[in-house]
Amino acid sequence: MKSKIILLTLFALLNFGCSGEPEPLKVPSNLRGLIVDSPATKLPAFKLTDHNGKVFDNSRLKNNWSLVFFGYTSCPDVCPTSLTIMDKISKQSGLPDNMQYVFISVDPKRDTTAKLKDFVEYFNPKFIGATGLKAELDKFQAPLGVIYDYEGDTTSDDYEVSHFAAIYIIDPRGRERAYVLPPHSDKQVGEAFNLVYNYYK
């Protein structure tokens, strides 16, 4: 009997130690596009540069809930739409104090630090923009499943970038907790974030 209890206890401890996860969040059927990672996806070390020229690495994601969107500043339609939505969300009530909004450019060739600053601060002065070498971008993006592709003449200034356009929810341990598929609305992304935050906080 005693050995059975010890075994059961050991099993419970092991089980907890392996996942450390609550049951996966059940997404209501009327909330479109929210995909929850269970367990959360860890991100490898990466090092980018933000819109003020400062290092943007994993440590910048720690202790914050982050909404992260990947795009490029020459994008006329989707990126301004999604950043406008992120700005609207930032003005909603009931959000945690440690919330940040990040735009990652997948077009480092054209998106200089100055351009990124001009772009993100237009939507919200508190927004963070970052980009970097392709190898560093890919370290950040690959585990998130962000794919992108340049279309047109990349030696000119007029090429376009097809890119995965989800909004990611990164938890305060710097892990991908969930993402919201496009097309986005502020109501949809706001509800998705609140649901994920209140369940996993």
């Binding site: 006329p76 339609d77 100055a114 001009d118 601060e121 890119h163 356009a165 496009p182």
Partner: protein, 138 residues
Amino acid sequence: MRLLIVIVLFLFSSLAVAGGGLQFIDPWVRQAPPAAKMLAAYGELKNNGSADVHIVAISSELFDNVQMHTTRFDRGMMKMSESKELALKPGQSIVFAPNSHHLMLFRPAVAIKPGVMVPIRFKLTTGRVVRFVLPVKR
């Protein structure tokens, strides 16, 4: 001053229905960050006439180039494709809206901000050019 605004608005609204039945309903150009080289214009373009309208080119004095694009989402991947021409039957319309069809405006000649009116010209197969003037909104 108020009267002047009313007159100007009246002139613009009459422009908006001119041109062989082609009407641009609630058109607008989305203001973009100061250094933006690409902007987008939206609104509902409707053929209110009795004949087909076939658009073969779009231009603006304030931009290097104007194209019709469509945003598509393929399993979360955003892709844009260009449409070279557009045909509208009588009564038919196309809605340009964020995350969907849009007019893509390349390289502005001046700062595009609220207060600026952006002229857009649609060239038809008949050779006729229909001009609309779009306000800039955030």
